[in-house]
Point group: C2
Chain length 231, copies 2
Amino acid sequence: MNKINTIAFDADDTLWHTEQLFQNVQMRLYELMSAYASKREVEAHFHDMEMKNVRLFGYGVKGFTLSMIESAIEISNRTVSATDIHEIVMLGKSILDSPLDIFPGVESALQNLQPDFRLFLITKGDVLDQRNKIEKSNLEPYFEKTIVVQEKNVETYRQVFDEHGIEPTQVLMVGNSLKSDVLPVLALGGHAVHIPYHVTAHFEKIEETVDHNKFYHLDAISDFAGLLRSL
Amino acid sequence: MNKINTIAFDADDTLWHTEQLFQNVQMRLYELMSAYASKREVEAHFHDMEMKNVRLFGYGVKGFTLSMIESAIEISNRTVSATDIHEIVMLGKSILDSPLDIFPGVESALQNLQPDFRLFLITKGDVLDQRNKIEKSNLEPYFEKTIVVQEKNVETYRQVFDEHGIEPTQVLMVGNSLKSDVLPVLALGGHAVHIPYHVTAHFEKIEETVDHNKFYHLDAISDFAGLLRSL
């Protein structure tokens, strides 16, 4: 096997909590809408709305918030109050303004890896949101480069690897999403580690199970050193 | 004088119409709010809201739309109807979905310049919005690189120039904003051309007038060839 010389990390729900913040806000949306529809109905409506809007809004808190507002108006048959919509706007802002909750073991893992590997952070979403989080994290000095992309697929990884002179077979990508972090990198001949997060965004869910000789599974990033020794 | 070998263009309201779309939507906000406050009051409230939210939202259509919603709720003292808020969401989406209206003479100017200069596009704002517009424009092949930044100031221009081996004194920056396109580039020793747009976003307005031996003024990008011959 080609020796791994580059390790790339996803950020949201791989280095720090994100999805839990979104889920908490969605729970409040379900409560606000409980007069009009069941949790399951609201959830389904909102997910459809997000998928419909992603072409215009992309991924990120602002699009998420606008989709919640649009969903609330439709579900309530245009009777939702301005007060409730105001709360939804404030919930969106609270996500943007919340402190960053970095997973235990992240910084020491990066410290240990930095002398021996080229380290990259490759994250998806609204660039301002992502840049703000990277800055809050104080982890930027560990990375050769931190990169924000709009979608994570074979094409975007290929571009990133090309642009930085990275040989795909020498990459190990680490992330919580099989769809965005694991499968495209395996497709390019790279290695991938899946560290699941306890909740997965609906647009990251896939049915597939992955069985591949360059695919590894970890329960937590703090187990990373052990995995590397075993490779 | 150092010979100019690089020309960098702003995009919104320099290569294509943008601000007019925002202004049209704002006019509709003033109408919707006319039961609660005068146009002048709504305008002032909304501008304050945008400035207050820019730290969290950045520049772009989604943040603009959320600020309109928040403003409408406050101005109406929480009595605005869901139908009106729905219209505001749809107005925001209509900006994102509107066809790109490129200024006359842009493509031929780029065609003429391409053989003799390194051409860059440097634009500010929401990356997804900006990337979508660059793609719609079909102008990307004329540029060595198209770059989206969060703010245009001396620091960001310095970074962009460094990263691409551009000597600032050999750059000519072309744009509609004195604040974002002209002053920072002059400060770095570069040249700048101001091509005003008929409306200016309130956050781009400055009081200053610019008097500098590397500063030029044009009424339209179609006059660009004449300016270059005169340099």
